[in-house]
């Protein structure tokens, strides 16, 4: 019985971790869908968002230095969202519009360059100390579950899962039901045609990078609350990659389901197989899992079947 409960714990924490990965993967997918850009800077965006948010909340930040007061959380989050939108606008102005029509790998490189810029900028502006981010998300294990059922689940992760659910629902509505959402999907399908019917690509990119920036903000809040805001936050992008290949680069549900599979898979592997081979296998296991999956479905979980033509 105790053993089964442990298995359940592993699966649950895998699912929860998976949600955290999905939050990052989601940002990737949005940008890739709308602009074909494999945005390696997504992790750094999350870091940058978290840094900016911290700045509004803390007394050692720029905001306090300039205005002499800090913002309450409910104001700081929208303010950070505004910063992310501004950042999206700058990225579009300074990078994307000059790289239209380039090959994917060139755009990919450009986002790595962007990641460097943001990393350097983040360090210069906010310093590289660890910044504890506390926006009131409860920390630690859920006492309710632990005391009554001896089941260990982190409160933060419950909040993250709920937030992710809300976020995905909101995104789905946005994409399916609104005029701009329709335009976004149109752009994802065919840039040229979208341009020809009067959809401004530049505007769409700003929108989609803003949305991605806001998703990054959510990811940044969750990961920042978990491990403090510091440089390593940007490395979670690496954990999102296997999620992406599993779920497909263009599928929002893929990012979610992929995240869950990777989360559960790597935790089970680490806990049950890791001890046999010396541990620390979860990193590569996630990739091998995704790779094995790809060999059977080269287009990912929800990707479309590729029919090759000549």
């Amino acid at each position: 019985m105790a053993f089964d409960l442990f298995l359940l714990e592993v699966v649950i924490s895998g699912l929860m971790t998976g949600v955290m990965y999905s939050l990052v993967a989601l940002g990737f997918v949005l940008i890739f869908k709308a602009s074909g850009v494999f945005n390696f800077a997504q992790g750094v965006l999350a870091l940058f968002a978290a840094l900016a948010l911290y700045d509004f909340l803390a007394e050692d930040g720029w905001f306090f230095a300039v205005f002499g007061f800090t913002l309450p959380v409910w104001l700081a989050i929208p303010a950070t969202a505004l910063i992310m939108i501004f950042l999206a606008w700058v990225i579009e102005r300074a990078v994307l519009r000059f790289l239209v029509k380039q090959e994917e790998i060139i755009l990919f490189m450009a986002t790595i360059g962007l990641a460097f810029v943001l990393e350097g900028l983040g360090d210069l502006l906010f310093g590289s100390d660890v910044k504890p981010l506390d926006i009131g998300i409860p920390q630690g294990a859920s006492d309710l579950l632990l005391d009554n059922f001896n089941l260990y689940v982190e409160k933060l992760e419950i909040v993250a899962a709920a937030t992710a659910a809300v976020l995905v629902t909101a995104l789905a509505i946005f994409f399916q039901k609104t005029r701009v959402g329709r335009a976004l999907r149109a752009v994802a399908d065919d840039h040229q045609a979208a341009l020809s019917v009067g959809i401004s690509l530049n505007k769409i990119w700003v929108i989609v990078w803003s949305v991605s920036g806001i998703v990054a903000l959510v990811a940044g809040i969750m990961w920042g609350s978990k491990s403090g805001v510091q440089f390593s936050l940007s490395l979670i992008a690496l954990k999102a990659l296997p999620v992406l290949i599993l779920g497909g680069f263009t599928s929002v549900p893929g990012a979610i389901v992929g995240g869950l599979i990777i989360g559960v898979g790597e935790k089970l592997a680490e806990v049950y197989v890791g001890p046999l081979v010396g541990g620390a296998i979860e990193n590569w296991f996630a990739y091998v899992l995704a790779l094995g999956f790809l060999l059977f479905r080269p287009q990912g979980l929800f990707g479309e079947r590729i029919i090759e033509r000549v």
């Binding site: 300074a94 490189m109 350097g120 296997p242 290949i245 990739y287 091998v288 080269p298």
Partner: protein
């Protein structure tokens, strides 16, 4: 000036197929090689050898290897770091087993070992394409590094898992370790790299190279005209990994001397080499060298300029350096997405016309 090809007639196919059909280019390259082989060794000091020229050459070689796979055969790989590790560990183990055998042969064998590993990890490329493949090669990256970090046999059970190169003599001249002179290390590396560059050029201008490029440009059409994708892709993985493996062996043996797998061969290493070929120019031998020069020299240049020149605090300079490097990468991609090699080519074309516009 007098950069013209007029009057240079080719009377055989073999002279038409020469690497540098234009006499001035030939002279230029021979000049550079002369300086590199006969001039530089007399002036080189430890700083230039250990901090600049050797890393430059080693990274150029790794770039060359990745360029064969990515630039010529169109298969994006992010496993370069791990393949360099295979070369490094293979040479480490081989030197341990056969201390009497010539180092050059052991490095060559390390390359072959890496080629074999590369082929195994290249297998998914038969089904997976593009970024999916790139991310899939990360499986190789993470798995191999884990293996080298975990299995004691690979690092001779040293307590920390680090490996340190033994002092090795090459025909009586010390080429590894601190006692090797900068000139010896440099010449050893340069010789290997010059030779391998020539062979790479030979391969890419022949049948095998054409079949890689065919796969890169349009894999289906290539298959339909009789190129076996399996053979072409795996041979690209093999040759590419061979080069990367040799680069890894030199990186460990001659350049760093001691490495820790997680740090020296981590994913950043893979990205680093990818930068080199994209900045330098995909599908260009020259590009690997230009890219390596850019990526290796630029940060040093910026640091020296900021810290030494303007007295910026070294930490701040570090941040600015990252920021500027990123900005420069973006800038170069915008100015010339096909890399420095293309810029060079355009410059040459302009030079050919100079001073008359047409």
């Amino acid at each position: 000036m007098f950069y013209r090809e007029n009057g240079q007639f080719k009377s055989s196919y073999s002279s038409d197929q020469a690497i540098f059909p234009i006499a001035q280019d030939r002279a230029f390259v021979i000049g550079i090689l002369l300086v590199a082989f006969c001039g530089v060794p007399f002036f080189i000091n430890e700083y230039w050898a250990n901090a600049i020229l050797i890393p430059l050459l080693v990274y150029a070689l790794a770039g060359l290897g990745l360029n064969i796979l990515t630039g010529y055969c169109g298969q994006v790989s992010l496993g370069t770091g791990a393949f360099m590790a295979v070369g490094a560990y293979a040479s480490f183990k081989l030197v341990g087993f056969f201390p009497e055998v010539n180092y050059l042969i052991l490095i060559f064998v390390s390359g072959l070992v890496t080629a074999a590993v590369g082929v195994v990890f290249g297998l998914p490329s038969l089904r997976i394409k593009g970024f999916y493949l790139a991310v899939a090669t990360l499986a190789a990256q993470f798995f191999l590094i884990w293996l080298f970090n975990k299995v004691g046999w690979f690092y001779d059970h040293s307590p920390t898992g680090m490996i340190t190169v033994r002092p090795i003599d090459f025909f009586g001249v010390r080429v590894t370790g601190p006692e090797a002179t900068p000139a010896a290390k440099y010449l050893f590396t340069l010789t290997i790299i010059a030779t391998l560059t020539l062979t790479a050029k030979n391969i890419v201008r022949g049948r095998v190279g054409r079949s890689w490029m065919a796969i890169r440009d349009m894999d289906i059409a290539a298959e339909l005209i009789g190129i076996k994708p399996l053979q072409a892709k795996l041979s690209a993985f093999a040759v590419s990994s061979f080069y990367i493996g040799v680069a890894g062996a030199l990186y460990f043996g001659v350049y760093l001397g001691s490495v820790e797998p997680l740090e020296a061969f981590d994913i950043n290493q893979s990205f680093y080499v990818l930068f080199i070929i994209i900045i330098g120019g995909l599908g260009s031998i020259l590009g690997a060298f230009l890219g390596a020069a850019f990526i290796v020299l630029l940060p040093i240049l910026m640091k020296n300029l900021m810290v030494g020149g303007f007295g910026v605090a070294s930490g701040t300079a570090g941040h600015v350096e990252i920021l500027l490097l990123g900005a420069l990468i973006i800038f170069f991609l915008i100015v010339e997405p096909h890399g420095l090699a293309r810029l060079w080519q355009i410059a040459k074309e302009k030079l050919r016309l100079w001073p008359f516009p047409h």
